[in-house]
Symmetry: C2
DNA sequence: GCCAAAATGATGTACGTACCTCAAAAAACC
DNA sequence: GGTTTTTTGAGGTACGTACATCATTTTGGC
C-alpha cells in the first residue's frame, strides 16, 4: 500500500478533507473531540504529511537568520562561509538564510537586534551570543511571537525553548585534558591555560572539564589558573614569560578561545612551540597550518558545516512542527591531529 | 525577483513550455540548436528545477539498495541500525531503502547479487564489498544500465563512476600511528598489529599509513608485521603470547579490523590491557564499554549515520543528475577517547 | 424546539513540475 | 512545390498539500 495522503486520512478519520486540513494546520473551529479523532487516525494509518508538497503549496519561503557576533575572528569567518555555502544549496528547500551581526559583549545591543527581528517576517533565528539576562529575555519574546529559536554555539540554558546546537564544552575540556596528559608523556611541569576571557560560560565549562581530567594527573602536572589575555598580545607575552620562569618548567599550553592567532605569535617569538604541547580550539586555515608545521599538537573542533546545517534543520523542524532526528543534530567534539585533518574545501560541487 | 520557474525559462529561451520540458527531461524530438538555446537560458536566468515539485509530479519513489556483507559483526549491525533509522526519515523525501546481503569474501556471489538487482526497478546501489575484478565488472554493468552506484565503506578505485563514501584509510592508519606514538609516551618496545586479514585493500591502506608514522619513531618503537587472526580466538592468543615473550617488551596493540571483540577477550585473559596502549576501529557499544573501562585507549571511527545519509544523498544526486555538496559528503576520520565519546542514542525524536 | 453560533463539508484554485495527446509549424526530401 | 518527417506549440491532467469561500449541518443556550 502506498503512503497515505490527506485523502486517506480524511476517510480513516471519517471527516472531510477540510477538517483534516484544519487539524493539520491547527486552524480554529474544530471541536476537541474531532481533533483527537483525526490525530488518532494519523497514528493509526501512520500518516506523514508530504512536506515537499506542503511547501510547494505554501509557496512559502522559510526565512532564517543567524545572529553572529560582530567582531571578526577566523571562526566567525568560517561560519559565515559555511552559511553562504549552505545558502545556495538551500534554495532547493525553500529556505532563505541571512546573517546579522551584533556586538556580542553588549547584551543590550544584542537584545535590541533581536527585538528588531520580530518586526520583519522572519521564521527562525539562530543566536550566537553569550548567555545574559537580556538575551534570555529577548529569546523568550521571540518565542512568544512564534519564532523558532536555537542557541548557536553558545548555550542558553535559561531559555529552554531554544535548542542548543553546539558541542558539549565540558566534554571538550575533558578531551583537551586527556590529550594534554597523554601527549606530555611522562614529563613533569605546569600546563598554562590561556583564554581571552573567563566571562563566558563556554570558557567556564571547558575549564571545568579540563580540570576534571588534570586532577588525575596532579602528581605530574600542575595547572595554571586561567590567564585572560583579553585578546591583547602584550598581555599574553607577559603572562607566558612569567610562566616560563616558573618552577617546575611548563610543558603544555591550552589555548581555550577560538582566536589562537595572537597568542601563537607570542609563542613563536619565544620559540617554545616545539618543546611544548599546545592544544587549541577550532580548525581554521590558521590552525591547519600550525598543525602541519607541528607547532600546534592538536585542535579540538566542531564541524562548522554541521553546525550550520543542523541549526537550519532544527529551525525548520520547529517552524513546521516536524520532528527532527536528534542523533543527526548532535555536534561532535572532534579531535584533529595533523594526521586526520580533513582537506580544506574550495569547490562546492562534485 | 523570485526563483525562476519553467515558465520563466520558456520565456527566456523563447520556446514553449513543452520544449522546455523536453529538454529538461532529455526527451527526443528537439533540435540540437534548440537544446543549446534552452541550456543557455538555464544558465542565464540561473534556473534550478524545483526537485520537490518534480518528485511530486513524478510520483516516483527512489529505490536505493545497500549491499552489505552477510557476516554479522557489530559494525554491520550499526550500519543496519542506522539505515533503519534513516529509512523512516526518508519517507519524507520519496526514497525507499532496502538492504541485501552477500558473502563478502565470495566475489562471484556478490557479483551475482548485483546482477540480480538490475532486473528489479532499483535506482541506486551502495556497495560494501572488497574490491575484486568480479565486483568491479558488476559495478560497470549496473552503471551501464543507468543505475547510480557508490562504493560504501570499501573503496572501489577501479570503478571510477562509483563515488567512494567512506574514510581515507591511509589517514586513519596515520592517525592511529600518531596516537600510538604519543600515548606510549617515552616507552620503548614493540607495537603489535592485529588484523583479521590483510587481503582487503582497507587493511593495506591502514597499514601503510600506520607505518609512515611509526617510521619516525623507529628509534623507540618497533612494529610487528601484520598478524592475521582470521577471526580466530585461539590463533590470536598464540600470536599475542608469542609477542609477550619478545624483546623489547611490547607496549601497544593496533587492532586494525572492525571486530575487536574476540581479540580483546584474549587480551583480557592475559591481563595486559592496562599496561598496553590499545587502539582499535569503529565505535560500537562494545568499544564504548572498553573506552569507558579504560582497556581500550582510543578508537578511530567514522560516523555511521553520516555514512548512510551521505551515501543516500550522493545516490539521489546521481539519480536525478543534481549536484551534491562535496564538503558535506566527506567522511571524517574521527578520534574517540573516553572524554569525547558521544552518547549512545536510542530515542530518535526531539 | 427555536435560533444563533459553532463546526463541518464541498468545492475550487494554486504551487512547480511531469507527462500525455493533438495540432500546427518548420524543415527535409525528392 | 508538394509531401513526408521532424520539431515545436498548446493545452490538459496529475501529484499532495494549503488556503479560501460558501453552503450545510450540528450543537448549545434558553
Amino acid at each position: 500500500m502506498d503512503k497515505p495522503t490527506t485523502k486517506d486520512l480524511a476517510k480513516a478519520a471519517g471527516v472531510s478533507l477540510a477538517t483534516v486540513d484544519r487539524v493539520l494546520n491547527t486552524r480554529a473551529g474544530v471541536r476537541q473531540a474531532t481533533v483527537e479523532r483525526v490525530q488518532r487516525a494519523i497514528r493509526e494509518i501512520n500518516f506523514v504529511r508530504d512536506m515537499s508538497a506542503a511547501n510547494l503549496a505554501r509557496k512559502k519561503e522559510y526565512k532564517v537568520v543567524f545572529l553572529l557576533p560582530d567582531h571578526d575572528d577566523e571562526f566567525i569567518d568560517l561560519i559565515q562561509n559555511e552559511i553562504a555555502k549552505t545558502a545556495r544549496f538551500l534554495a532547493y528547500e525553500r529556505t532563505v538564510v541571512s546573517i546579522i551581526r551584533a556586538p556580542a559583549n553588549d547584551p543590550h545591543r544584542v537584545a535590541e537586534q533581536m527585538d528588531n527581528l520580530s518586526i520583519n517576517e522572519i521564521d527562525g533565528v539562530a543566536i550566537m551570543a553569550p548567555e545574559t539576562p537580556q538575551v534570555r529575555d529577548a529569546i523568550l519574546r521571540l518565542e512568544a511571537q512564534g519564532l523558532a529559536v536555537v542557541a548557536f554555539v553558545s548555550h542558553q540554558p535559561n531559555a529552554e525553548g531554544a535548542n542548543y546546537v553546539g558541542i558539549n564544552n565540558e566534554a571538550a575540556g575533558r578531551t583537551v585534558g586527556q590529550l594534554m596528559a597523554r601527549f606530555t608523556g611522562m614529563r613533569q611541569g605546569t600546563v598554562l591555560v590561556l583564554t581571552e576571557t573567563m566571562q563566558s560560560r563556554d570558557s567556564q565549562e571547558r575549564r571545568l572539564g579540563f580540570d576534571t581530567i588534570m586532577e588525575k594527573y596532579s602528581s605530574r602536572l600542575k595547572v595554571s589558573p586561567s590567564m585572560e589575555t583579553y585578546g591583547d598580545a602584550l598581555r599574553s607575552e607577559k603572562i607566558i614569560k612569567m610562566a616560563l620562569q616558573s618552577q617546575p618548567p611548563f610543558v603544555g599550553i591550552y589555548l581555550m578561545n577560538h582566536d589562537v592567532r595572537k597568542t601563537m605569535q607570542v609563542i613563536d617569538e619565544l620559540g617554545i612551540a616545539q618543546q611544548t604541547i599546545i592544544i587549541g580550539h577550532e580548525l581554521t586555515s590558521y590552525t591547519r597550518a600550525r598543525l602541519v608545521d607541528g607547532s600546534i599538537d592538536a585542535v579540538i573542533t566542531q564541524d562548522v558545516g554541521h553546525l550550520v546545517r543542523s541549526s537550519i534543520r532544527v529551525l525548520r523542524a520547529k517552524i513546521t512542527h516536524m520532528p527532527s532526528v536528534a542523533s543527526q543534530e548532535r555536534i561532535r567534539v572532534e579531535i584533529i591531529l595533523r594526521e586526520n585533518m580533513p582537506e580544506e574545501f574550495h569547490s562546492e560541487n562534485m
